[in-house]
């Protein structure tokens, strides 16, 4: 379990202002790259310090919900068909 994540969760759930000094003092409890990344308030650096990728893909929508564009081809070679509930039925 990551203490950095616990720290961030605690900050997120407490609306009392910590102030710059209080934040620096709280962050001083961490070591090395995690401390530096937290001080810089740099999410990508925090992720890297924890051994995580710096960014994630996050799109979960398509421009054509019910049917794929007619003239595009899937890059991974699979046949594109509209998703339907039946497609996932056992």
């Amino acid at each position: 379990m990551s203490h950095v994540i616990q720290f961030l969760e605690a900050l997120a759930r407490d609306t009392r202002p910590l102030g710059a000094t209080g934040y620096s003092e709280a962050v001083a409890a961490f070591d090395g790259p995690a401390r530096d990344a937290l001080l810089a308030r740099d999410p990508a650096a925090i992720a890297t310090a924890l051994g995580l990728p710096s960014t994630y893909a996050c799109a979960i929508a398509t421009p054509d919900h019910d049917e794929p564009a007619r003239d595009d081809q899937p890059a991974d070679g699979e046949e594109e068909t509209p998703a339907s509930p039946e497609a996932y039925a056992a």
């Binding site: 994540i5 799109a59 421009p63 998703a83 509930p85």
Partner: protein, 270 residues
Amino acid sequence: MTSDAAPRGSLACVGLGMMLGAHLGPRARSHLEQADVVFVAASDPLVELWVQQMRPDARSLQPFYAEGTSRRGTYRRMVAAMLEEVRTGHRVCGAFYGHPGVFARVPHDAIAAARQAGYEACMEPGISAEDCLYADLGLDPGRVGCQHYEATQFLLYRRRIDPSAWLVLWQVGIVGDRSCTRFSTSPAHRQLLVDRLGEDYPAAHEVIAYEAATLPITAPRIERLPLRALAGAELHMHSTLVVPPALEMPRDEAMHARIEALEARLAAHP
């Protein structure tokens, strides 16, 4: 409270909200904690790690993504992975960043598929990027109205924009990607969007690049720029374009007159 019914597969798609630790509702948390199998689609690796603190066995949907692979197929595979566990008889929770039903194909498709196959399926709302946008920008969608479109869909279809209302375009960082295979598109793609918006807005019209904060130690990105500069702006997969109204709401004098006449008739013959 427990049920005496035999164990049977079910699906709950829940929203994690946008900010780590701040937006998870009690019902969503309960589904996360009680499910046999948890899948997680987070917008941020730190948010995913936070979910994995609650559920160390949570399965990330992130490996399903690959640049160059159509997201349509990616989404089908995500749905299939969740449905496979439902069919096995497990209580499955799909935890999605933001709201699982807002600009989110996978949860809707998964719930429809589960119900089609006779399983119980539900959605628990979460705090979406749209909700954060209203709070961060001080924007009330009820004041003059607000239109929302997926950015590429907005380009590919002729839509009637009302420039007297707000316009919000989602996934603007991948605008113009018909193939759904890219994690970003080029300034030339964005210029097409500038050209399209230029049909209804002046080039100097101020627009806003918006990104909700996902950590309590960062601020949301609220970058104001003229429309003409949008093509060169730094945009990400999670960036949203907000276009403020350019016109006053046009008053419909004919409708005002009809209502006045109606009310006069009702007053004369109550």
